[in-house]
């Protein structure tokens, strides 16, 4: 429970920071932009990708197009809609938003850096995607490790006998965690490659058609 509350608390704080950052902008422009980017993320999740039933999420692309402030709010909107449609845990909206928001921010940051260094937008976007997703997956695993340690969420409010049992099982917990991490990273690697290929293609296409959309300093974003 403390992790859930911490996730919500930190999300509220970051939403406040994002709203402060957006306070000087025309709200009639900002709201539709966040809305369409959120809709695009939801749309991408429904694309029939023929690998492992993988869902695209386009958070990195959202960061590249919208920047961190609008992108973070878009990540929150998407997670709220997913939670309300039972496609995401309603109790972990905060934690999911933090992970999504991290991808958005890293996407924005990496794209800005790599775009200058690399000639091809495809390569810059694909690398930004893989790195951002690798880091966010590691952050997600960190949360899992954290919630395991947490006695409230890990159901360790039992009697002393059960507590002793859990103590004996600590070694196998670590083994299980390693197995869990191995599953997440190996399945994740396929997902990152899929996402990188799609985001790279989108970035290349947009750079050819509307280069201003991916120039996060221009103020004329989607």
């Amino acid at each position: 429970m403390p992790w859930i509350l911490a996730g919500i608390g930190l999300t509220v704080l970051l939403v406040y920071v994002a709203l402060r950052a957006l306070s000087g902008r025309d709200r009639a422009r900002v709201v539709p932009r966040i809305a369409t980017l959120s809709a695009l993320m939801l749309l991408a999740m429904g694309l029939p990708i023929p690998v492992l039933g993988y869902h695209l999420n386009l958070t990195v692309l959202t960061g590249m197009i919208a920047g961190p402030a609008e992108g973070f709010i878009a990540a929150l909107v998407v997670n709220l809609i997913l939670a309300l449609t039972a496609h995401g845990g309603i109790t972990v909206v905060g934690l999911n938003t933090l992970v999504g928001g991290l991808e958005v921010c890293l996407g924005w940051l990496l794209w800005r850096s790599l775009r200058r260094a690399l000639k091809r937008p495809f390569a810059a976007a694909a690398i930004a995607t893989v790195v951002a997703l690798l880091i966010s997956t590691t952050a997600m695993l960190g949360i899992v490790v954290g919630t395991r340690i947490d006695p409230d969420l890990a159901l360790h409010h039992h009697d002393h006998e059960e507590l002793a049992d859990h103590g004996h099982a600590a070694g196998s917990d670590f083994g299980s965690l390693k197995a869990f991490a191995a599953i997440v990273y190996s399945a994740g690697a396929v997902g990152w490659a899929v996402e990188a290929l799609v985001v790279g293609s989108v970035a290349e296409f947009i750079t050819r058609s509307r280069p201003d959309m991916l120039d996060s300093g221009s103020g004329r974003r989607a």
Binding site: V30, A35, L40, V77, L80, H87, L155, F180, I183, V202
Partner: protein
């Protein structure tokens, strides 16, 4: 995720749960969700799940759709729980049951309550930008999904997305690129419409709800009783 289907179930369903007032369903759902989270043993979690299934069964034939939706978070909870099967199987089982209950509560609420009503409630606790974006994102989704389906149909008519997986993914990327360009134009149109309509920092909900009926009180009493029992079991 089939948001269109969910929208249709919520808007066109005729069951006792559809007739209940949105705020009563939201309050009852919140209490049942709290009960699911508060359950700390498999037994308590199973009892909460049974109570949630009973609540959801008031949606009649739609129950199977809600259950199917609730199985989705179970998949991820199962992955999460797999790390604890050996060391703490009871915890793993509880995690999976709780995920099902929480998923079924959310699925039942959203398949029996139009999104506009749910958003009206959400907008009371979220900043205006978030609630307005939530509302507009939901509407934009339906416009963009039509465009995406048209584009995918065109791709199929022209021989498909490609033979190799890489080709297919690149084609999907380009299709998404086209949709993103359309969405940029749509954003501009929405901006103009908002200016013309005098957007004043918030989209106001003009929805007025009728006075509560016995069914609404019954739902809330039921959910509160379930929550009380689960808390008593701790």
């Amino acid at each position: 995720m089939d948001v269109q289907f969910i929208d249709e179930l919520a808007a066109n369903g005729r069951t006792p749960l559809h007739d209940a007032l949105p705020w009563a369903k939201i309050a009852a759902s919140a209490a049942l969700l709290a009960a699911s989270i508060a359950a700390r043993t498999p037994l308590a979690a199973a009892a909460a799940a049974a109570a949630v299934v009973m609540f959801a069964s008031a949606s009649g034939n739609q129950l199977r759709h809600a259950v199917a939706m609730a199985l989705y978070p179970v998949l991820f909870a199962g992955l999460f729980a797999s790390g604890w099967i050996r060391s703490s199987p009871l915890f793993a089982l509880t995690v999976v049951i709780r995920a099902f209950s929480a998923g079924l509560v959310a699925a039942t609420l959203i398949t029996t309550t139009p999104f506009v009503d749910v958003f009206a409630a959400v907008s009371r606790v979220t900043p205006a930008i978030v609630s307005d974006a939530l509302f507009m994102a939901y509407r934009s989704f339906f416009i963009l999904v039509d465009q995406l389906q048209d584009l995918l149909r065109t791709v199929r008519l022209r021989g498909g997305a490609g033979r190799s997986l890489v080709e297919q993914l690149r084609t999907y990327g380009q299709v998404l690129g086209v949709v993103i360009l359309h969405s940029a134009d749509m954003t501009e149109r929405m901006y103009r419409v908002m200016i013309v309509r005098g957007y004043s920092q918030r989209i106001e909900s003009a929805r007025e709800w009728p006075p509560p009926r016995p069914l609404d009180y019954l739902l809330i009493a039921y959910a509160a009783t379930v929550l009380g029992l689960v808390l008593a079991l701790r």
